[in-house]
């Protein structure tokens, strides 16, 4: 419970903002809650709102979600190696709830203690409920929340990601990854329309890690 309370407090304003943004794009509160409940991936939901059209284009939002969420492949691959206490089916079920924050907390926990299904459920269930309900509340109360941009609430989501980035710092190698990723993302976003910048930045960061890793191998040999 102590692990999850700051995450809940951070996700509620983000959920409220998502709901408020979604109604301005023409989604009903039910549709907003449905998206939060089924997709449960804040980043791709915000990106979808960014490019939302009427009628909705399932190909463009589906492809955007794939680009934004492709990182989950690596997140579940990484966490999967730390889920020995989970039975086969439970492992797959747990991974359905791999939002960034849940994943980051679970990775952190795995460094301290054996990851158990009960601990994971205690982390994921309240977070899931908070995300869906705050999205619904934001969509219902949207007009009363005031301008989210003036309140700075749209910034809560990038701020959470910045805090998570800082948590992954492991030395100069991480610096190289961040510089490569950031530069590639900004350049791609400037020249290429759409959300390709996420994939471009991720690939650039990965290449930087491989390059700095192989250079160190050469030095030690």
């Amino acid at each position: 419970m102590r692990a999850i309370s700051p995450l809940i407090a951070a996700v509620i304003p983000i959920g409220l903002v998502f709901g408020a943004v979604a109604v301005t794009k023409g989604l009903s509160p039910v549709e907003t809650a449905l998206m939060s409940a089924l997709v449960f991936a804040g980043g791709s939901q915000f990106v979808a709102m960014d490019i939302w059209t009427h009628p909705a284009s399932w190909t463009s939002v589906g492809f955007a979600a794939l680009l934004v969420n492709i990182r989950h492949v690596l997140m579940s691959a990484s966490l999967g190696t730390k889920m020995q206490a989970f039975g086969g089916r439970r492992r797959y079920f747990a991974c359905l709830f791999l939002a960034d924050e849940i994943w980051a907390m679970a990775e952190f926990r795995a460094g301290l203690a054996r990851l158990t299904p009960a601990w994971f459920a205690g982390l994921a269930a309240p977070f899931y409920l908070a995300w869906v309900l705050s999205g619904l509340a934001g969509a219902t109360l949207g007009a009363f929340l005031g301008d989210p941009v003036a309140l700075g609430l749209d910034f809560a989501f990038p701020a959470v990601f910045i805090v998570l980035v800082m948590g992954f710092w492991k030395g100069p190698e991480t610096g190289a990854v961040l510089i490569a990723s950031g530069a590639a993302a900004v350049a791609t976003q400037h020249f290429v329309p759409g959300v390709w910048y996420v994939a471009a930045g991720a690939v650039a960061g990965l290449l930087a890690a491989v390059a700095s890793g192989s250079r160190r191998v050469e030095v030690t040999q």
């Binding site: 995450l7 399932w58 691959a77 941009v149 700075g152 910034f155 961040l178 910048y197 890690a209």
Partner: protein
């Protein structure tokens, strides 16, 4: 309180690809062993992806966002997540109100 058909299809498409990405990592691990440098490369993915997501906000949106991102990053070194995020939001609201 209605659900539009094309909206429903779009939501299901998003949900389907998200589920696919969340489960394919587990399936992948049945076939790939993570040793040495490959493991290091995989470990670099989370910061690489998160950075790619926030970089346009941090460096190419406005001065208020850039300053608030820097402040949030510095705060994250010492403070818990909630305080760092609140500080960043407060900072960006203040700077926008000041017209920066």
């Amino acid at each position: 309180m209605t659900v539009d058909f094309s909206t429903l299809v779009a939501i299901i498409a998003m949900a389907a690809v998200t589920v696919l990405t969340r489960l394919s990592g587990l399936v992948l691990m049945w076939h790939v062993s993570l040793e040495g440098s490959r493991r290091k490369a995989i470990e670099s993915i989370p910061p690489a992806v998160l950075m790619a997501v926030v970089a346009p906000t941090a460096f190419a949106t406005g001065i208020a966002e850039t300053i608030a991102c820097a402040l949030t990053a510095i705060a994250a070194l010492r403070l818990p997540m909630l305080f760092s995020v609140a500080l960043g939001v407060f900072c960006v609201a203040l700077l926008r109100a000041a017209g920066i």
